[in-house]
Symmetry: C2
Subunit: 459 residues, 2 copies
């Protein structure tokens, strides 16, 4: 085995990025602004500030600064779990017997188990800096809720997490981690909000949905003094925070003189993929590289590969402003699958715009193939991946096997966003042979598209 590059490239703390990378500063076309669903007009800044922390709104709207400094307090928090390793997948290469070089940036070495902590740290800090007493959020699979619980504990913020009831019941250990970090975890729908009570009345005994949990979290934040709502993906400022992934990966590769040909990431709301590709994409937009960017989504929730580029609600409860994005329709219901973190009807507006402009491609993969890849990876690279992350592994393995057929020695980087330690129910299904694949039928897609709102014409 040629070992000119170490298995794991750790940057030193001095090499930690001190600014996030704002890819929008180099985009030829910016994504259109959020619209007020009632008027069809762009949302005023003040409307966003009633929901989100002010500095996050600043970042959300910033289209000009390539670098946005990371405050010292957030850097200090990052040092608990960053820099994360860039791993040369020698064992995976050997198993696949491929001429390709495979690298992965591993974000799972922290108690939240994923990259979510990068934005949680930032958003909790800004809330504290703004003098807020607390924040609210929703969580489905639980990685975001856990990450925010850790950050809120660290910065001394009160946190209420509305957890989709079916997850709350099926993932008691996720809930317990959040409680251990001091968060108040409420199964959603709950009777603590108007939105929750309305749903409970209309659908007694429902297991809840992300859309309902978002509505409850937003309502709670708005009804409280000194409280804001925070979101773990989709939005531009979340992608900005996640750019630390790509910046570290790029610095580590440059340290060893490696130019990658391809960057692969899984996509749910798009924050991990957006963060991983940001600095590489920025250079591509400036004509400095010709990297191929590949986003991987589940076949069960194929927003880029089968969705429409349209203005849609960010939540299924139709409470949020409208965002221009690839969407399956806010009313789309993906068939139950365990990659909870990828079950989102839409896609980050930044990623959507880049996709519309032809700067990246997308592939959709079926669940059983994803778990085949996950298990093969676990056995040779030692890390049991999150089902979400395994979508990227699957696509990277496909590319490496294609290299084996063509003899090309491509250099592939993929994002390994997290670990699957709290996803063993899904692994059990796989091990028991009871896991199934599913893609929406054309009819199901049409039903989803029917929920995309008609945007009123602005005067």
């Amino acid at each position: 085995m040629d070992r000119t590059i170490p298995y794991k490239i750790y940057l030193s703390e001095e090499e930690l990025p001190r600014a996030w990378y704002n890819v929008k500063a180099h985009m030829k076309r910016q994504h259109p602004p959020f619209l007020d669903p009632k008027t069809g007009k762009p949302c005023p800044r003040e409307a966003l500030e009633r929901v989100f922390c002010s500095e996050c709104v600043d970042q959300e709207l910033n289209e000009t600064d390539e670098r946005i400094a990371i405050p010292e307090e957030i850097l200090s928090f990052y040092r608990m779990f960053r820099p994360s390793p860039l791993v040369r997948a020698y064992f995976l290469e050997r198993m696949l017997d491929t001429p390709a070089e495979i690298y992965y940036k591993f974000e799972g070495n922290n108690t939240s188990g994923s990259h979510k902590l990068n934005s949680a740290a930032a958003q909790a800090y800004y809330a504290k800096k703004q003098g807020l007493a607390g924040v609210t959020t929703e969580t489905g699979a639980g990685q975001w809720g856990t990450a925010l619980a850790m950050a809120a504990a660290f910065f001394g913020l009160k946190l209420d997490v509305f957890m989709v009831k079916v997850s709350y019941e099926q993932k008691p250990f996720r809930k317990e981690v959040m409680r251990t970090y001091g968060a108040n975890v409420i199964p959603s729908p709950s009777d603590t909000t108007e939105a929750g009570r309305r749903i409970l009345k209309a659908f007694p005994g429902t297991g809840g949905s992300l859309g309902c949990a978002i509505a409850e979290a937003v309502e709670t934040a708005q009804n409280r003094e000194s409280c804001r709502y925070v979101l773990g993906s989709v939005l531009d400022h979340v992608l900005l925070h996640q750019s630390v992934i790509g910046l570290e990966a790029k610095a580590a590769l440059e340290k060893y003189g490696v130019d990658v040909d391809m960057v692969i990431g899984c996509m749910g709301g798009g924050s991990n993929f957006g963060g991983l590709i940001a600095p590489f994409m920025g250079e591509k937009l400036m004509g400095r590289n010709d990297i191929e960017f590949v986003g991987v989504e589940p076949a069960s929730c194929p927003s880029l590969t089968r969705g429409k580029y349209a203005y849609d609600y960010c939540d299924s409860a139709q409470m949020t402003p409208l965002a221009k994005m690839y969407t399956l329709g806010c009313g789309f219901m993906p068939s139950p699958t365990h990659s909870g973190g990828l079950r989102y009807h839409g896609m980050s507006p930044v990623i959507s715009q880049l996709y519309a402009d032809g700067y990246l491609r997308a592939v959709a993969v079926e669940q059983k193939r994803v778990f085949d890849a996950a298990v093969a990876f676990a056995r040779c690279e030692g890390i049991l991946p999150a089902p979400e992350s395994a979508h990227a592994i699957c696509a990277a393995m496909d590319e490496a096997l294609a290299c084996k057929r063509t003899g090309k020695k491509k250099r592939i980087l993929f994002g390994l966003t997290g670990t699957g330690y709290f996803d063993m129910t899904a692994y059990k299904q796989y091990n028991d042979g009871t896991m199934s694949d599913s893609s929406p039928t054309e009819e199901e897609l049409e039903r989803g598209f029917a929920s995309i709102p008609r945007v009123p014409a602005a005067d």
Copy 2:
């Protein structure tokens, strides 16, 4: 915050130790040999080789070589998860407002979640090198079984894990991780062995015990062609493999010119503590330092602080040779506690001898204080610790608070052996306020001591 030392000190791969450290080479007195319980005579080498891999027996009996080379194949496996970080606990120091400097060596950044992988990798490799088809083992809490499953998958060995039935049922996710790595996990007692059938007949419906699981694993290995039994703690060769922890910690500290005053570790069978202290202790034995070594055990299973130094069986089924060790008696039943990995009646013969000779001290801590420490640590240092590891955190915090009172600026190193992601049932008890403390009464201790065998006089 003074930051002359980074938060995390990672060694480079070139700095990875290439030999284990055999502390026995410097011990003034070796621990007495294993005895055959029937004859009272030392166990012949051949008897050990019928149970364990030959190279492990070599290492078990080696009292002379300070360094034993780590084979390249094991080094290669180690690179998947080593070097592990040495962390300067700045956040913990700040929270405690102590003049002490606190460092911890964190072994939890791997899918097994603990240091156990260090010895699993070695033992699986030696089994493969010996040409064996498979190995057997037992697991209680599950960390060892998971580690061995990972190593067996990597080296292509068949693995049967006898898992204490009550754990098998209460920790379905641990079992699922092992299955994902291809291990065959059997609830013990089972009807696949004579030992298991005997127990099932005598105690229908029993939840099993570690002693019974050991008996089943040993019997299965001995009845199979090309199979041996492997053990995850207690034995000298396991401590040898774990010396990689101490060697890395020492190298990282030396890199920054830090001399520690105290090394603290939790103790169950003693392998993590023995490995952490090995190279520091070796120098103490040579008169080169005056470090204080502190082993921390649960008050519910206090083998060093309240046990007897005597020959005893290593298992409660009384099948193994006799080892000279501090013991509560092989028949001692600790009250149910969730630090499953520390519920062992005896203590590593090496640690026992060092304790008997006055080279280390031991403290016992109650469970609720341990969880107080675990939660405080999680919230400021970001890592949710395993309950076992939290015993060391608790003692380190006590020492740091003592420094606050005395004004002494001690340098404290402790071993953070693993993460608690599969221990959330215990955290739930703590969060719910239903956790209780327990120490054995004098009467319970006496009942345990009564199970210590009388050793027949050798001729």
